[in-house]
């Protein structure tokens, strides 16, 4: 139970689920639930503005920062700042020195791979995490439950890049089951489009497995916990008193209530997974936005680094925003206010 909070890097999550209930956990990590939609949108806009500004000022605040190439000395900081904002609005993220192309184009080329990776792993860990959590709650204290707990807790203690390296060694080289790097086999003509898809999926397997395994523990534990809590509620007793079957009760009465904190959590984990691509894509040389971050760092390509940072930060905010909206839609207590 309390393990979730420990496993989850956004620390004290489960505590809140237990003590304060679902509403507060949401309030804790996203915006206040009862805030009206306009205030919420404005809050997100403010945060986006702060991130954009940070992105502009950070390199200029660093004492020995890489100012060259970013600043042209004949303009005041204010002029540069307005310039920067206008450029961003037009999709001009600057020039990537290492790729010798506009940052925007470089990002766009990589985006699809990151979307594929994050999307696939999210679908897998959400489904598998929720199912295994529900099974664990169902079989609480039995072998299945303990086994799942131990396995998934140990998995969450692996840094994603280390697990990825182990996968490359064992599944990539020793057993030679999967390709070891990249997103596609290069310089190959496929006879059928099906062959392309298969090749892409084959390359996707290890990175997606790494991301999934290192992220699944949290959602598993929260589902287990949330399910156990909900199954102990009075209204479950009421449902039993009506003579409804256990499965019907789990499906109709428990799941929706148990899902409320999970939705918030999924958003938060997607945020973590997006960040996690930085490490996983680097290990597997998977050509997504995350690998651009590592590439840019080692090549000292600061415009690209900043562009990739903006992309990642805005993606995470977008996911949080969506979760905020879905939550309001699902919980009738919130909708009314």
């Amino acid at each position: 139970m309390s393990l979730i909070s420990i496993m989850f890097s956004r620390e004290n999550l489960c505590n809140l689920v237990v003590i304060k209930g679902t509403k507060q956990i949401h309030t804790f990590f996203l915006f206040k639930i009862h805030m009206n939609i306009i205030t919420k949108v404005v809050s997100y806009l403010i945060i986006i503005f702060i991130i954009l500004s940070l992105n502009f000022f950070l390199p200029r605040m660093m004492p020995a920062g890489p100012l060259s190439g970013l600043t042209s000395s004949d303009k005041t900081v204010l002029e540069q700042y307005t310039n920067y904002m206008t450029n961003l609005m037009h999709g001009d993220f600057g020039w990537s020195t290492s790729k010798n192309a506009p940052v925007w184009d470089v990002l766009m080329r990589s985006l699809k791979w990151t979307l594929l990776l994050v999307g696939t792993s999210t679908v897998i860990y959400v489904i598998v995490g929720i199912l295994s959590g529900a099974v664990s709650a169902w079989k609480k204290g039995k072998k299945t439950d303990v086994g799942l707990l131990v396995l998934l807790i140990s998995m969450a203690s692996f840094p994603p890049f280390f697990l990825g390296m182990l996968f490359i060694i064992f599944l990539g080289w020793k057993l030679d089951l999967f390709p070891r790097f990249g997103a596609q086999t290069l310089f190959i003509d496929y006879s059928t489009p099906f062959g392309v898809v298969l090749d892409i999926l084959h390359h996707l397997a290890l990175p997606a497995a790494t991301l999934t395994l290192t992220s699944i523990g949290v959602i598993y534990l929260l589902t287990r916990n949330s399910m156990l809590n909900v199954l102990g509620e009075d209204y479950i007793l009421t449902a039993r008193a009506k003579g409804l079957s256990e499965w019907y009760i789990v499906r109709r009465h428990a799941l929706k209530n148990a899902m409320l904190p999970i939705i918030t959590l999924v958003a938060l984990i997607v945020g973590l997974v997006i960040t996690g691509t930085i490490f996983v894509e680097t290990v597997f040389a998977y050509p997504g936005v995350g690998m651009l971050v590592a590439d840019a760092i080692s090549a000292h390509d600061y415009p690209l680094l900043q562009g990739a940072f903006l992309f990642i930060a805005l993606a995470i905010l977008a996911v949080n925003f969506i979760a905020d909206m879905i939550y309001v839609h699902l919980d009738p207590r919130v909708k009314q206010e």
Binding site: E233, Y235, T238, K256, N257, P332, R333
Partner: protein, 311 residues
Amino acid sequence: MSILKLTHLNVHFPTQDGVVKAVNTVDLEMANGERLGLIGETGCGKTVLGMSIIRLLQLATKVEGKIVYKGKDLLKLSEEEMRKIRGKEIAMILQNPTTSLNPVLKVGDQIAEAIQLHQGLDKRAAKEKAIEMLESVKISSPEKRANEYPHQFSGGMKERAMIAMGLACNPSLIIADEPTKGLDVTIKMQIVKLMKEVTKRKSMLFITHDLGAAAEICDNIAVMYAGELVEYAKTEDIFKNPLHPYTRGFLNSLPSMGLKPIRGMSPSLIDLPTGCRFHPRCDHASAKCKTEHPEMVEIENGNYVRCFLYT
């Protein structure tokens, strides 16, 4: 013909601090159409007794004895068979409507699902029946209310909804657990009046610590103390002539009788007193009461008491 007969019912459950002996050797019989009040202080085991009848307690709970409903021993039924009885034959109205209603489902749907299940109606017909039920418990504009969520209901209305839910499948026996708990005096009176009306010609086990409500509704009253029955009598007898010292104390603690509380505290169900369970708090306790456990004895025409003063 009795509708419900409990014989030597024991309900014990293990906890971290020890075994809670919530119900001890309870014998109780309810006639068809009888409304029986089960009264006692909080924590005397009356809710557990109610829940044990429809087998809603946790798996670890040990239930021994017989619970015979219409000739069938409920303890011998399979879980499958038991589910067909819950809600349809025996309905339980649980306490605390605020937590007992599912916050994310519409009230109407929560009533309709039992109707749909037990009476084989389709979704729409069940919902219509649910609206009728809401009307029968005097909720105004029931069509609108049926589509609202519990948090949009006031405390009294939630209680009404719970009652409607219990009555929805026209059960033969209703177990109502503290339906008047935590309500304002005026609302409480309305609920009591409603309960009396809707349970006419029905059997009901009315679990409460509110003597006034029990007096208003019930034909007979059983008094429970520390997991066992200490007195059973017709309602008018128990008010006119309470026999057991505990019943007397309980009556005296009512506001209308002068608010004199019984001294001492009710015992823990884990560590029960020896002899008569009431002796540490009893003004009439003798040496015998400390060591020997009194039996239930019949005093006159069906009134029973468990006290050495009457043997």
